[in-house]
């Protein structure tokens, strides 16, 4: 098992050190570890190239000598191998490290660790003063997050079972473009291949494991994909007027606008509030039960009264 490891390291060294392209036969002759028939050497080399690519190491294929046409050569350009964020100062190293540290113990701990190893290898001491009083932490135990990130970065289609409102698992295929964490949940946005449209999925509503499907680089991520914009539809579609009891309905007050109304009884305030999802809003209003009265629209008021009456019948 360490033969393979050794060979990968030796191949990297040879291809990185060379100033010109090395042909396959040169590689097989000089790099330690290529053994067996021509065919098996060939297969080994192909696998090694893939493995290095997965580590982010790009092997460049070029012409060894323009006179010898079909003898391709290989090398790794130092500029494609080395740390790509350029010159970084102590403050930047500290911030980058802190960002990676945020994943400690989360489902992507191993990528965080390798990132930290590289950042620390630069040899600039972190500015620990900077860290006082900060403990950014990424909260997730969901192993699917790692698969989602790797699908986006490698541009590989994802397939998964998604639970609908009836708790039925529907199989979906998605070209994932972006992901975000908000309201305490992780979401992935992409093109749903069956519905042929952009869709957003919440990771914790996926039943079982996310699976990579097909080959890497099988689609392009469109220019201007903006997952934040997809969430911040700024226009509220509907508005309602409600009365709230003194000091109650704190979450609602935060996003409502108080309105003056002479008929408002003592101990209550009147608000105008926007909402988008009707059913969710009805449920939210009922959470506050007798601390809240819907004033308008009449249909919403009637609906709340209807639920309360059927509750009386069922439980009374």
């Amino acid at each position: 098992m360490s033969r393979k490891t050794e060979r990968l390291v030796n191949l990297t060294i040879a291809l990185l050190a060379t100033k010109r392209y090395l042909t396959k036969s040169e590689i097989f002759r000089t790099v330690d570890g290529y053994e067996g028939s021509d065919d098996s050497k060939e297969r080994m080399f192909e696998r090694d190239k893939d493995d290095l690519r997965n580590l982010g190491i790009e092997i460049e294929v070029g012409s060894f000598d323009p006179l010898f046409e079909d003898e391709p050569g290989y090398r790794i350009k130092p500029e494609n191998y080395q740390f790509q964020l350029g010159e970084v100062n102590a403050q930047e190293i500290t911030l980058l490290s802190l960002a990676a540290e945020a994943w400690r113990g989360a489902s992507l701990g191993s990528s965080a660790l390798t990132a930290l190893n590289k950042l620390h290898a630069i040899g600039i001491e972190s500015d620990t003063e900077l860290l006082l009083g900060l403990a950014p932490t990424v909260v997730t135990e969901d192993a699917n997050l790692e698969v989602a990130i790797s699908a986006i970065t490698s541009r590989t289609t994802l397939s998964f079972d998604y639970l609908n409102e009836e708790l039925k698992a529907q199989s979906r295929a998605l070209e994932p473009y972006a992901l975000t964490s908000r309201y305490g949940h992780w979401y992935v946005l992409g093109r749903d291949l069956d519905r042929k449209a952009i869709r957003i999925f919440r990771l914790d509503r996926i039943s079982g494991a996310l699976k990579l499907q097909g080959r890497a680089a099988s689609f392009e991520i469109p220019e201007g994909v903006d997952i934040s914009a997809a969430f911040s539809i700024s226009t509220d579609l509907l508005t309602a007027q409600i009365f709230l009891r003194d000091g109650r309905g704190l979450n609602l007050r935060n996003r409502a606008r108080q309105i003056a109304d002479a008929t408002t009884p003592v101990g209550w305030q009147k608000f105008e509030i926007g909402y988008r999802d009707h059913q969710r809003f009805v449920e939210e209003l009922l959470w506050y039960s007798d601390d809240l009265i819907v004033s308008a629209p009449q249909a919403l008021r009637d609906e709340i009264i209807g639920h309360l009456k059927s509750g009386m019948v069922r439980y009374g």
Partner: protein, 310 residues
């Protein structure tokens, strides 16, 4: 044979990263190096022994990487080719990008210089990987840092806490015990000196937190008993399951589904039942049903009261 869980490829990646790290930390103790790379010392020794066999084609001592670690301290020579720090993979860049987002929101306005530095790094990384990942944390990381410090140093905390269940903001003095996750949300388990009982606080509902006195003793003994309600869901299954925080499993077809819901807070159960009047029926216990009926009646009375106009 050293037992190792890393694949040969992962091991190769680690070897490539060990070289620049040792180069900038010549003479580092084996134990420290093992900690940095998250491996056992045995595994690290196996790594170093493998690395020793690597080098430029030719593989004579002139070309091989020269490592010294028998003294228990590691130094390296003749490894110029691999001395450069390797580039960050896209996966690593994405997690750093998300980490920077979270860091950015935890910096307040008084640290505008740091905010600018974070924004600059974020831009740099987005130029490489694209605008493919963002995070909007719901917990203030300064709160988390204060809580962690309090647990470590056995101090009490003064909280300003917004209880969504009680629909009120209160000040409490608590003895913090443990940070953990509850269905994806960060929670603090603590003894609430104000309420004289064990409570769970959601970190995203903490308005402010300050270090208090050294911890007063926490009574041992039983926690307050949980309330347990049996519910029957008839529609809006996923929403209702999420609201009652029960685990849901996929079904072929569903007409109704029974759950048992437990909580230390009867108030939370009651409010959740009110929310879901249209889709959920609470079946047991009878006291729960009576409470819901009472709540419905009180609310209906308001709608019928002449004192409250529409």
């Amino acid at each position: 044979m050293v037992k190792s869980q890393a694949t040969p490829v992962e091991k190769a990646a680690r070897l490539l990263d060990l070289v620049p790290y040792i180069s900038t930390h010549q003479g580092i103790a084996l134990a420290d190096l093992a900690t940095e790379f998250g491996v056992s010392q045995a595994e690290l020794l196996s790594d170093l022994n493998t690395l020793w066999m690597c080098g430029l084609p030719g593989y004579t001592p002139l070309e091989l990487i020269d490592l010294e670690f028998e003294s228990g301290y590691v130094s390296i020579r003749n490894a110029e080719v691999l001395q450069r720090v390797r580039l960050l993979t896209k996966q690593e860049l994405v997690i750093i990008l998300l980490g920077l987002d979270i860091l950015y929101t935890s910096l307040d306005g008084s640290r505008a210089d740091l905010q600018a530095a974070v924004a600059k790094l974020t831009d740099k990384i987005k130029k490489i990987v694209g605008n493919i990942a963002t995070a909007l944390p719901i917990v203030d990381s300064a709160h988390r840092a204060t809580i962690a410090l309090a647990i470590k140093s056995r101090r009490d905390l003064d909280l300003v806490y917004h209880s969504t269940i009680r629909d009120s903001v209160t000040e409490r003095s608590i003895t913090p015990l443990e940070l953990s996750l509850d269905l994806g949300f960060e929670v603090l388990y603590a003894y609430c000196q104000s309420a004289q009982g064990f409570r769970t606080f959601r970190l995203d509902n903490i308005k402010s937190v300050t270090l208090g006195e050294s911890s007063i003793s926490v009574p041992s003994g039983e926690e307050g008993s949980d309330f347990q309600w049996d519910i029957l869901v008839r529609s809006r299954f996923r929403t209702s399951a999420e609201r009652f925080r029960t685990n849901f499993i996929p079904r072929e077809s569903l007409e109704s589904e029974s759950f048992v819901v437990t909580s230390f807070s009867q108030d939370w159960l009651l409010r959740s039942a009110m929310c879901t009047l249209a889709s959920v029926e609470v079946q047991r216990p009878p006291e729960a049903r009576a409470m819901i009926a009472d709540k419905c009646r009180k609310t209906l009375e308001l709608y019928e009261s002449p004192a409250l106009p529409s």
